[in-house]
Assembly symmetry: C2
Homo-oligomer: 403 residues x 2
């Protein structure tokens, strides 16, 4: 059961975007597992991908196509098989899929971006995808966001989608995004796929910068278990069909709405994290710089001992302190460090707080939403990481995933 | 149940070393939880300690005393309370304990090294220790190694001790060591305590160098869960009472025996890792340098997804590949990488091996002792990490540890 998360019951269409999903029987039976997203000609499309050196074939191809394309038109996404660890044969499979979409969609090969998510190390049965492409093209529709959100799921227990609308100078700008992912979620994303589209007009170079910034604050600030996937991808699309152009006056408003959608999608992944019973924010403040703060936040968020204590609702704050102490940063000044669990002061200037009682700690730990706040008092930078606890169900899900 | 581990039924006394253990009721009832180790005057003593910035009070004091002492005489070790995260009060507690041992043992304060292991963040009831010191001094005996091995245990399910004897020029040199630790075991050791003594004569400066080298190859090559404790300590003692002096001729033999004892003690911790059902060696070979190899080995050894696959005996090697790919090293050349599970070839020069069958992988995974061998083909360096799988029992033990 996701923590404090009610899946969206409808998602707004975005002008210039059409979607289709279908059953291709790649691994799953009796459910959609193949999705095509079409963006109108002239759209800007930017992507951020996994930093895993052993990245999947489709990730390599996405990077190439984004470099050479004169405009992305199609995204083709399968679930059930990651097409990772599949060598040259995997590259060929992804190429064949792109070629079929390009032919049916009447565009160049490099106008197609391929994505795969699922089991690593098995060859992708590309022919099952290729043969469905004509039917996908046929059934493209602006109202298919919800169906796409469900088709891209793997171990997710709920679909994840968010829509927002803004009024700008009398025009409506729509933003709709979907994401999938519930495990292997880590620093630079992990078996996480997310697609967010807006009908605002945003220049390619600006969209790329926005995409990077938002990723740092949202999808790259989540952690379930420290594992980074071979396939993580986030794609931001701007069709311009609303007629509203991003400019100095409206940019804060539009970027902030894009960021909100991505934050909700990123948090939804954590709320639906494998076996999660808590939603945990680790916030590190007053640090010398952002990376310093984030390293500490990640070290706490990744600690299996902290995560099992959270699962047990045990205010065993010694484990938090031990995790902070082993963070890979130089010169942590413990004597300046202050630590809160929710509103409860645990450590003040490096010393156990006199005011602390086990009852206070227990009350904070009993909550479903927990904030661990580390105040370093050695600078102005801050960073946060959203994470979950580590439960029996995590082991069950991951020990049984392939069977 | 530890993996392939039969605890020693006896441990050899080491000339010049006497030990005593006693019930002090610090946290546990009806068991020894306080130990004193005495080394004869003129012994060399070297130590390696946690790199955790939030290190425990006794670790800080150990470091100071090793700097200023004219010769360590006593080690005092309690289990049940780590005296970590305890601020100034914790420092005072550890000081008071050392002062009492120094008075009863008739030596300077800085001839005493204090150690604590157990729950973090609770003040140490130092008076329970202080009042037992006279009785400890009274009962010191060379034959108490086994009792000490048991008294330092916390979540360990078995005691850990190893003895070895060498003949050198007609003289017998004895090495005996004990260790404790079964969780939080990570890179630079973790709630791991180990004490190894020999009656060979080794100069202080030489012993310090040997201590560092052995630590890198043994105690700093184990990983259970990525958490580094506030209290980890390894102490190597040489009394010289055998009459055998370390020299050019015998040094390989003596150092190799010391290293073997430490390797057995380090591996025993992994074999008894919380919830472990497998003993896993991750070996990275033909790397550009040692640190490069070790980073990759640790990334694989720490991956919760790899560890749950090991628990499930699932030859889901894609997870191993994904972990290698996200290791924090520069320029991994995937196209040169070869990967074995035991003797079974999985990946050859970056491509899935044609010879591989799921049956082969399954057969390797079904074993209790598993070796993951990563051959980078980009240098001459190699490193290994010993680790365990991640099971339901890990969660149970760590969710319930304080209750």
């Amino acid at each position: 059961m996701p923590v404090n998360f009610i899946p969206a019951s409808e998602l707004s269409p975005v002008q210039g975007v059409r979607l289709a999903s279908i059953e291709a029987n790649i691994r799953y039976k009796d459910r959609d597992d193949l999705t095509l997203i079409e963006v109108s000609e002239g759209s800007s499309v930017a992507g951020v991908f996994t930093k895993n050196a052993f990245c999947a074939a489709p990730v390599t191809i996405c990077r190439e196509h984004l470099k050479t394309t004169d405009g992305i038109r199609y995204l083709v996404i399968n679930s059930g098989n990651a097409n990772a660890g599949t060598g040259e044969e995997g590259m060929t499979s992804a190429d064949l899929i792109c070629a079929e979409v390009a032919e049916e969609g009447m565009c160049n090969l490099d106008c197609v971006l391929p994505f795969s998510t699922g089991v690593i190390g098995e060859q992708l049965p590309y022919w099952k995808i290729v043969e469905k492409v004509p039917a996908l093209i046929e059934s493209l529709d602006a109202n298919n966001w919800m169906r796409a959100a469900k088709a891209i799921m793997t171990t997710d227990t709920v679909h994840k989608g968010v829509s927002k609308q803004l009024e700008i100078d009398g025009e409506t700008v729509t933003i709709t995004g979907i994401s999938k992912g519930s495990g292997m979620i880590e620093p630079n994303m992990a078996t996480m796929l997310s697609y967010v589209a807006t009908d605002a007009a945003i220049k390619q170079s600006e969209l790329e910068a926005i995409c990077q910034d938002i990723t740092t604050q949202t999808f790259n600030s989540i952690s379930v278990d420290g594992d980074t996937s071979t396939n993580d991808s986030f794609v931001l699309m701007a069709t311009g069909k609303s007629g509203v152009q991003l400019d100095e006056k409206n940019s804060d408003k539009i970027i902030s709405a894009l960021s909100d959608v991505c934050q909700e999608l990123a948090q939804a992944i954590i709320r639906d994290a494998e076996g999660a019973t808590k939603f945990v924010t680790v916030s590190v403040e007053q640090a010398p710089d952002y990376d310093y703060a984030k390293e500490i936040a990640y070290t706490v968020a990744r600690s299996p001992l902290v995560k099992t204590a959270l699962f047990a609702s045990d205010p065993n704050w010694g484990r938090i302190v031990a995790a902070i102490g082993r963070a890979p940063v130089e010169n942590i000044n413990i004597s300046k460090l202050t630590l809160y669990l929710g509103d409860t002061l645990l450590i003040e200037s490096g010393e156990p707080a006199d005011s602390y009682t086990e009852e206070q700690g227990q009350a904070e730990m009993n909550k479903e939403e927990i904030t661990i706040r580390v105040v370093l008092n050695t600078g102005d930078a801050k960073a946060h990481v959203w994470t979950s606890d580590l439960s029996h169900d995590y082991i069950t899900i991951n020990a049984d995933y392939r069977s």
